[in-house]
Symmetry: C2
Subunit: 248 residues, 2 copies
DNA sequence: CACGTACTCCGAACGGTGTTCGGAGAAGAG
DNA sequence: CTCTTCTCCGAACACCGTTCGGAGTACGTG
């Protein structure tokens, strides 16, 4: 999660994206924002977001700790760079394929994939909007796909927001479950040992009968695939609700 | 954001919710998990999540810092307690009103309200699932409302997941926008000064025409109300897509 | 070519952080 | 009354984000 600004903080500089990467005068910088982003992503992927500290970043980049503040105004800006790096890791958006439905489906799976591949994304993106060039390119891609539906500009905005909200919200929930598993020591059985007794007591309390029914019934062996099915089904529900609005 | 566990950490104890609050033998504890949760929420609401430190919590509760570890296994567990405290702050769920659609609408608005009222919720809930009693009660409420639709158990699960995913995802996005505004110094004009030049350069690049169109057109005076409208519209889309599945 | 300026680099320090350790003291069990 | 078991917590450890101010470098200009 992005560190929160304290109340009396000095006025923010310009956005990272708006500041020039390199000055014209002094010595050449020995690294770049792009390298900083890549190093941050590598660190966070390997050891978790907590491992992204200014000192470790500096060590990874073979640079003094304080030097990073020449590239970045604060640690939060490193998060911004990391998010946009991930948005760009698969290359730029392809040209739309002409079928809005499959374009949007692909977009949704891509967003979900990014979050699952980089679990720290959920927490980082929660507190700050991201206006990086790669993020914008993918938003533009989604809006372009929606063009085929001949919606008003307001309907397009709503449609885009709904899609992104669902995908992001779903991936976050999926991730929380997945990480809880991982936290119990990378061991499925261990998790059962910890959660099991509590679930039993919940069941015995009798206050959550439908929840218990869902949990017991959904506790099938192929949990990973189950999430896949729920996601795809939910996505279809949402795309279904978009199409009738095209033929007004 | 929840602190991530490091790899070699010792095995986790039981869940907070499963551990006994009070032992039978020694002296009586001088505070309670409930008070810890309330103090944490108050601190986070007033000064941001970053202000929730073990030392400040201990000071607020008039207790030594190390004493907190008798109530809680780690700082993350304090986050768990805080989330469930918020889930319970409006009292227990009412009995379902008989109309599934209005029940679910009310539920959605309640979740969104909680996140907007306690902005730190988004980041905290991103990394950990919450199985606290109050959270479960509201999940149960949603499932109960869905009972009227005569869905299969799997359809109920999907429907519940979709609703929660959309609401959570939307609130997070809304919050990010709102906090970016706040970060610029509680000043709308300041934000324009920071963002404006960047948006102009984006526009001049010509690479994001649809995005620019949406931004310019959505930049109306009544921004707060705009979010309300988008949320309500999106929610209706989703509920619309649920109802046809009732009459299979 | 040389000067001045504008920049990059970064060691050291400041005030915080989460968590552990181990002793002191309180209260129910026998 | 003793013993056991719990609560409490000061002190310490390793680390954190950020700031300061000096040293060094390369370009624009005279």
């Amino acid at each position: 999660m992005p560190t929160e600004r304290q109340k009396g903080s000095s006025r923010p500089r310009e956005l990272v994206w708006a500041r020039a990467e390199r000055a014209t005068k002094g010595p050449a910088p020995s690294t770049s924002r792009r390298q900083i982003a890549a190093a941050g992503v590598a660190l966070a992927d390997a050891e978790g977001l907590e491992a992204v500290s200014m000192r470790k970043m500096a060590t990874a980049l073979e640079v003094g700790t304080a030097s990073l503040y020449g590239y970045v105004g604060s640690k939060d800006e490193i998060y911004d760079l990391m998010v946009d790096w991930v948005e760009g890791e698969d290359g730029p958006p392809p040209p739309p394929g002409g079928d809005w439905r499959s374009d949007l489906t692909a977009l949704a799976h891509r967003i979900r994939g990014s979050i699952l591949r980089h679990p720290w994304m959920a927490g980082v993106a929660a507190g700050r909007p991201n206006f990086g060039p790669n993020s914008l390119a993918w938003v533009e891609y989604g809006l372009t796909a929606l063009d085929d539906l001949e919606l008003t500009i307001d309907e397009m905005l709503v449609a885009s927001e709904i899609l992104h909200a669902f995908v992001r919200g779903f991936a976050i929930r999926e991730l929380a479950e997945q990480q809880a598993l991982q936290r119990a020591g990378l061991d499925d059985q261990e998790w059962g040992r910890v959660l099991g007794p509590y679930m039993d007591s919940i069941e015995k309390s009798g206050r959550y009968p439908r929840f218990i029914r869902v949990v017991r019934e959904a506790h099938v062996p192929h949990a990973a695939d189950r999430q896949e099915v729920i996601f795809t089904t939910g996505l279809d529900y949402i795309l279904d609700s978009l199409s009738p609005r095209a033929s007004r």
